[in-house]
């Protein structure tokens, strides 16, 4: 066989890596935004939970800051900004290493 045409058979690990890469990184990247959207939807469904929008009702610090929809959004943001980027980066480097070996 002509060596200009023939290529090596990709290893099982390589093929798995190529197949796995998109959805894993995508799921990790989506977890935070889905949580944020969940908090936003909750806030729209129950706007009276967010006291910042209706200051006339009064209330203490806990009523303003520690409301369910706001807390869900904060958790989503924390995951999106603190955890997800490093995981996606490590997934990419793992797959690069897999494809090189």
């Amino acid at each position: 066989m002509n060596s200009d045409v023939a290529t090596s058979i990709p290893s099982e690990r390589e093929r798995q890596g190529i197949e796995r890469r998109p959805w894993r990184a995508l799921v990790v990247q989506l977890l935070g935004p889905i949580t944020i959207v969940g908090g936003l939807v909750w806030g729209v469904a129950q706007p009276y939970r967010i006291l910042i929008l209706d200051r006339g009702r009064g209330g203490d610090l806990y009523d303003y800051v520690f409301q369910g929809p706001l807390l869900v959004i904060v958790v989503g943001l924390a995951f999106t900004l603190l955890v997800a980027p490093g995981l996606v980066q490590d997934l990419a480097s793992e797959e690069r290493r897999g494809s090189q070996s």
Partner: protein, 190 residues
């Protein structure tokens, strides 16, 4: 300024939701990739231990009944033990998978404490309903770490364990100090 019970429950729900997201992420990327950065490996045990410290604070503050005091002390102690074991597993001080029996016992004991310290029946109010629901949920989901101890690699146990925290967060976020079980649709409550 001491927060109301529902506020404390919502803060606990936030921690549970974050833990759930972290465990789901670990499940998706795999153990090796997740533990590549040391701080990530220590994240779950640290959150559990920090939660136990917060639970001790709540134990000190919620002295309005002996049962509440005991229940919060049991949760704090159970979380501390589970967090310590998870930390020792990450550090490599412990290696046997059967140590997952400790988180299983912690969930079981926490569930029983939820059920025992709620004096009202299921349909009395939303708070009572959620205490019963969370209690039974924790009793049932203690099977997940138990299964993990017996069959280490089984995906179903790890998935169930991760989703446990998300479900716990949903139930805790639904808590109100005084409300009918289904809000405007009624049933129970003042």
């Amino acid at each position: 300024m001491v927060p109301r019970a529902e506020t404390a429950h919502w803060i606990a729900a936030s921690v549970a939701l974050f833990v759930g997201l972290v465990l789901i992420a670990e499940l998706v990327v795999g153990h090796d990739v997740f533990h590549r950065r040391r701080w990530r490996a220590y994240l779950f045990p640290s959150l559990v231990i920090a939660s136990s410290v917060l639970l001790w604070v709540i134990t000190i503050l919620s002295t309005f009944s002996t049962m509440h005091l005991l229940a919060h002390a049991v949760w704090a102690q159970a979380a501390l033990a589970a967090g310590a074991v998870e930390l020792a597993l990450v550090r490599g001080k412990l290696s046997r998978p059967t140590w997952a029996l400790v988180p299983a016992a912690a969930l079981l004991v926490s569930g029983i404490a939820f059920l025992v310290h709620e004096p009202n029946p299921w349909l009395y109010s939303r708070s009572a309903f959620l205490h019963h629901a969370i209690g039974w949920m924790l009793v049932v989901v203690s099977l997940f770490p138990l299964g993990r101890a017996i069959q280490l690699g089984r995906l179903a146990w790890r998935t169930g364990y991760a989703l446990t925290f998300v479900l716990l967060a949903v139930l805790l976020f639904a808590d109100r100090d005084a409300a009918p079980i289904f809000g405007r649709f009624g049933l129970g409550g003042p």
